[in-house]
């Protein structure tokens, strides 16, 4: 099994979700994250004092998939999340030994 982790722009999350659903993925775990990278943060000013906020809001997705689906899923996410502007994010794949569905105790592919 593989774990596909993706960091994407927040307003693209909905598109990614739809693309994944269309592809057949039935479960995703999402966390709100912040990214530091090439994309610049912004500056706020309070009573004349400037504050640079370096981090940029991102959505972080995790999808556990079968080995054979991993490549496709990466492609689906990358396509749906793309705007072509700096800060579109990353997708990475890492190995997973096993996955269990808590409700039933099922393991492996059956647990997805």
């Amino acid at each position: 099994m593989k774990l596909v982790t993706a960091v994407v722009k927040p307003h693209k999350w909905e598109d990614v979700r739809e693309a994944l659903e269309t592809f057949g993925i039935t479960g995703i775990t999402v966390t709100e994250a912040s990214g530091f990278g090439r994309q610049k943060g912004h500056t706020e000013v309070y009573r004349g004092a400037e504050y640079d906020v370096a981090l940029v809001p991102k959505m972080r997705l995790e999808v556990v998939v079968d080995d054979e689906d991993a490549g496709d899923v990466v492609g689906v996410i990358a396509k749906a999340a793309q705007t072509g502007k700096i800060g579109d994010g990353k997708v990475w794949v890492s190995p997973v030994d096993t996955v269990v569905r808590v409700r039933t105790g099922e393991e492996g592919t059956a647990a997805l």
Binding site: P10, H11, V53
Partner: protein, 436 residues
């Protein structure tokens, strides 16, 4: 003349503001998933009681009658009432009728069906509050305290602004309702800490501000009596903060902001019946004792095992009873600590507290049970766990995820009622029709 009208109308506005203040005070104290329901219980009281008051509430409370127990049906629809003095009194007293049931809601946080609450407000205010208000606030024809006045006030009980009619009344009903509805799921086990303490402090501040209208406005004139009530109100609230915080410092090692807010309210409750009858130093003493007493009293629910969620009993019943009975000692007109002492006063004060408390407790218990057994009063378990706001109001209090961010925090589908879905679903093409 016009000064008195200005004062009473302004006081009425101040007392109106107390109910939203209470909504904030209570709302901030619940968990985030129940803040809206908690606030809605106050707003429901505001809406329902105002309408009932106009239709029949004023009439059955203050309508001319020979009874010392209730008014009459002479002023249905506020018919036949004229003049600034009477009409401003109508407005002023309405606000008391609103906040009293609203106070009760603190006992039933997070678990009362909204429709059950609404029915409770209608019944309780009609069957319990309106009569009790007659007993305490109806001075009879020409304010002469004759045979047509409410029995409590006519009997010589001192209750300037409603220690019995409002606070004991609400506190006893709160206890009844806490028993009827039972405990919140996870009570004693889960932390159910206040989700927004600045809101609690703001609510307490608005209550305090409005309480000047409540207490000093009860003079029904802008005179020395009003000024005295005003000063005593301020003194007692302040002293009670100190009383409460000292208890916390000694017992818990830290004075808390929730303690300060609670102390202020406890002091305001206790001074309510007393504000025109005590000296400023008496008010300070009354306040500091009330603050300390209520700080201890809010622990009772842990001992006796009733989930009075936001401590209506510990603050309003205890504080209101204490303020009323303490007049037996501290009143400048008959208190045992002063010349002219009159032991009968202490007795009368106590009887009034017991009478109102018992009447209200029993009444609220019966009404609550009746609702529970008919339309149901307690929320189902799943809704309570998921959150009453979502399930009773289809709303959630906050969506702050996007605070410093340029996106929507939680994704959703298009709103229903949008006949032609936007064709452009993707960012690029979707500017909406600027200059449509």
């Amino acid at each position: 003349m016009s000064g008195n009208t200005a004062w009473v109308l302004m006081s009425a506005a101040l007392v109106m503001l107390m109910t939203p203040g209470l909504a904030l005070f209570y709302g901030g104290m619940t968990r985030a998933k129940g803040v809206l329901n908690m606030m809605m219980m106050s707003f429901a009281a505001l809406a329902i009681v105002s309408v009932l008051w106009v239709i029949y509430g004023y009439s059955i409370t203050f309508g001319e009658s020979d009874s010392q127990l209730f008014g009459s049906f002479d002023h249905i629809g506020l018919h036949g009432l004229n003049g600034a003095a009477v009409l401003s009194f109508v407005a002023f007293q309405l606000m008391f009728a609103i906040i009293t049931p609203a106070l009760i809601s603190g006992a039933v946080a997070d678990r009362a069906k909204f429709i059950g609450w609404c029915v409770f407000v209608v019944l309780w205010v009609s069957l319990i509050y309106f009569p009790v208000a007659n007993w305490v606030f109806d001075f009879g024809a020409d304010g002469a305290l004759g045979d047509d006045a409410g029995w409590i006030v006519a009997w010589g009980v001192q209750d300037f602004a409603g220690g019995t009619a409002v606070h004991v009344n609400a506190g006893a009903a709160a206890l009844a309702l806490a028993l009827v509805l039972g405990k919140r799921l996870g009570w004693k086990r889960d932390p159910m800490r206040p989700h927004n303490l600045p809101l609690v402090l703001l609510g307490a501040a608005l209550l305090w501000f409005g309480w000047f209208g409540f207490n000093a406005g009860s003079a029904l004139a802008a005179n020395g009596l009003a000024a005295t009530a005003f000063i005593n109100t301020q003194a007692a609230a302040s002293a009670a903060i100190i009383g409460w915080l000292v208890v916390e410092q000694v017992r818990d090692g830290r004075p808390t902001s929730l303690g300060a807010a609670s102390g202020a309210v406890a002091g305001l409750v206790a001074i309510t019946p007393a504000c025109a009858f005590v000296s400023p130093l008496g008010a300070v003493l009354l306040g500091v004792l009330a603050g300390a007493l209520c700080a201890l009293a809010v622990g009772l629910k842990w001992r006796f095992g009733f989930d009075d969620s936001l401590d209506v009993v510990g603050v309003h019943l205890v504080g209101g009873a204490f303020g009323s009975i303490a007049l037996g000692f501290l009143s400048l007109e008959g208190g045992l600590l002063y010349e002219g002492r009159d032991i009968a006063l202490l007795g009368k004060q106590t009887v009034a507290v017991l009478a109102v408390g018992t009447f209200s407790f029993v009444g609220a218990f019966i009404i609550g049970k009746a609702i529970d057994m008919t339309i149901g009063f307690r929320l189902d378990e799943d809704s309570e766990v998921e959150g009453i706001d979502l399930n009773e109001h289809a709303e959630s209090g906050y969506d702050l995820t996007a605070a410093t961010r340029g996106h929507r925090g939680l994704p959703g589908t298009p709103p229903v009622g949008a006949p032609e879905p936007q064709d452009a679903r993707h960012d690029a093409g979707d500017k909406g029709s600027v200059n449509a």
